[in-house]
Amino acid sequence: MTRRDLFRQFARAAAIAAAQAAFPAITFTASKIDVPLDSLTWKKAPCRFCGTGCGLLIGLKEGRALAVKGDPASAVNQGLACVKGYHSIMALYGSDRLKYAQVRKNGQMVKVPMSEALDIIANKMKETIAKHGKDSVAMYGSGQWTIPDGYVASKLFKGAIGTNNVEANARLCMASAVTGFMTSFGLDEPMGCYEDIDHADVFVLWGNNMAEMHPVLFSRMLDQRLKRPEVKIIDFATRSTRTSIASNKSILFKPHTDLAVANAIAYEILRNGWHNQAFLDRHVSMHTGKTNIGFGLEDNFKFEDEAKTIDLAQYRKLLEDYTPEKVEAMSGVRAEDIRYMASLYGDPKTKVVSYWCMGMNQHTRGTWIQNLVYNIHLLTGKISQPGNGPFSLTGQPSACGTVREVGTLTHKLPHGVVNNEADRKMAAEIWNVPAENISPKPTYHTVEMFRALDRGDIRFMWIQVTNPMVTMPNLKRYRDGALKEDRFVVVSEVYPTPTTDVADVILPSAMWVEREGMFGNSERRTQHWDQLLEPPGEAMSDTWQLIEVARRLGFTKQFPWKQEEHVEEVWKEYRRFHEGPKHNMASYEDLKANPGVIWPYVNGKETKWRYNAKYDPACKQEPFDFYGKPDHKAWIWFRPYEAPPEEPDEEYPFWLNTGRVVEHWHTGTMTRRIPVLHKAMPAAYVGTAISGGRKGTGTSADSNTVKLASSPRHHSCLPAAIDRRGRPQKGMVFVPFFDEGKLINELTLDAFCPISKQPDYKKCSVRITKA
């Protein structure tokens, strides 16, 4: 079969799959369908891309993936798929796929056998540890790691080697969601599930372009609105997008002032007596934390919050600074729109779900804004019930499953945290390592880890399934750091990227369905897939790469599994960490048999709404039990508005907001190899409105190419897209980050939320001039 024939088959199979999505019982018997559907073997797998976790069926023939369709048995997408999902298999077949290991010799990358590359990595790790200590080697992984990848990485570094230098790119993506959940509820991850969409009357989207970023979930919302005319979608955002167009109401706010608006909604709820006093009395306690907490711009920044308990009267008093009129002046949101939003949350007959993703997470007060949205749901008691609840969506397919649940962050363990002795003992026992191997001290969160690489505190870094030389904020510092003379960087990848450009060793990875694995999506659903295809050349799964190196380091006892059984064995071992009704995971057999299973999975039943005694077997009291906190209460936090670290001024008069586009998955490593997606969105652009900037200082982006500059960091020249797909508000520009030819993160600021340590990619100030 030529590649040309293959493209015809892709085109035909895509059309058949689309027809099947529209008409599930449709059949074709004509002879011209030379890939009849019944000649394909269909196997389940979760989609490779976003955190929605759509179930797909992959059509296989003669060792190739030829077709994709949404899995009708998946409760997530119910047979739907988005444009990336339908084309996902084409990402396997890019012409520059990495198939063999490469090692830098005399400045040049040279092809070597995989076994030699693995030997070099193990030897370099031994040498670095001997010379600079355990904390000089680091692992940087991903929310696109499979669960076994993250688990063996954590076990190797934290358990066997004894360093907490394990981080993942999910720190850049959802760390504020974690700290939001932890501070308000004491346990991570949403209490509800996607089934909330079928029950809610109102969806409030907080800085969340779901139409492009979570299109299948957005389709489900639109479907509900068609079926139930009372359903409303409110888009609360800093720019107008496709989501705004499809919403019932679009409300724009000035960047960073969501903090003030959330407080104003709470103020209005209390002022009108719309709060649920019985719920507050029984299930909620109120607190304040530290203020003026900084932005982490300096190396070795430290912060620890301190909670003080307050009562409802004190909380009311603190909210008096946030009347709708005062907040209108700060946020640009009309007082009547604030009152309208408050009335939706406040109406006891209306079920409300709040959704958010990067808009609230990538925020220098990311933890605070999560707390403030939880406050609204807690004040009204609209939580942990079908159709009522706050819901943090994730960006990556296993940010929840691998990073949050396995705990591939410096302070975490698969169960609990490193500074808890009981949690360390549990990990040591399961991992078969001495308890003293696991250090009680977290080391570096992601930004600080790359700063440590730059400073020389870290000398060896292994990067898997992520592309930090495109995604790190204030990028130039970290790229220069990685290239310093005595740094050693290993990159496991499927295609060449700016990160493989800085590598000393490149390992070719088996991609997605070329290996067995599991992901965990936004709604606590774990999804298993079998290996469906052979990886090309010597490509190897990231899990097995780690196991091979672990054995070379002398840890065969901890990593004893046979290759054909290792994913099952890893799952069985990992599952022990989560035994019990609060987090029990499905068995390997149940995962294989289903498109996905929500945890806690207790006595063969998914827990769809946590903390509600009607649905959650872990509850010890009725009707709700917020058992994550010692007082069994959810915490309302008063958090004030505090200005961001950088705001537009006379010299740099525009806000720069960065983000994604529907066609591309993150840095485009895979989707830019899919011709139809690449053609649809070949390059990054500056999205801007027809007029912009502070009065008298801005330059309208009215030329074909403009230069963006953010002093003292960098500049970039990009084509202008005026009033096109997304329309930023006046004074803002938007640039997608998928384009490695236009590294917009050279302009972004490495300021982060002091609690979550997640950087803010949505707000820094820039100047625009004609290029």
């Binding site: 040309r4 493209f7 892709f10 085109a11 035909r12 008409f23 449709i26 004509a30």
Partner: protein
Amino acid sequence: MAIQSFLVYTKPGHRADVAAALAAMPGMEATAADNEDLVILVTESEGKAATQSLERALEALEGVDGFALVAGYSEEAIRAAELESVEDAG
């Protein structure tokens, strides 16, 4: 040469006629569904003008209710892939 696929929605009872009319045009492969008013169309066309002409032909065909592009592969992408195919063979 671009390859595209479409879902062509037909008026009730017209799918066989539409499929036959489309299949008679050069570079087209049309297959009617057995049990829905729908035709799967896979096309190969030269350049943007040919694509526009194809879309006009679809609009003009009696019995066509509407159509939707599902997948499209550009000339450049196919050429690049074919070159690679030759390299692989070598």
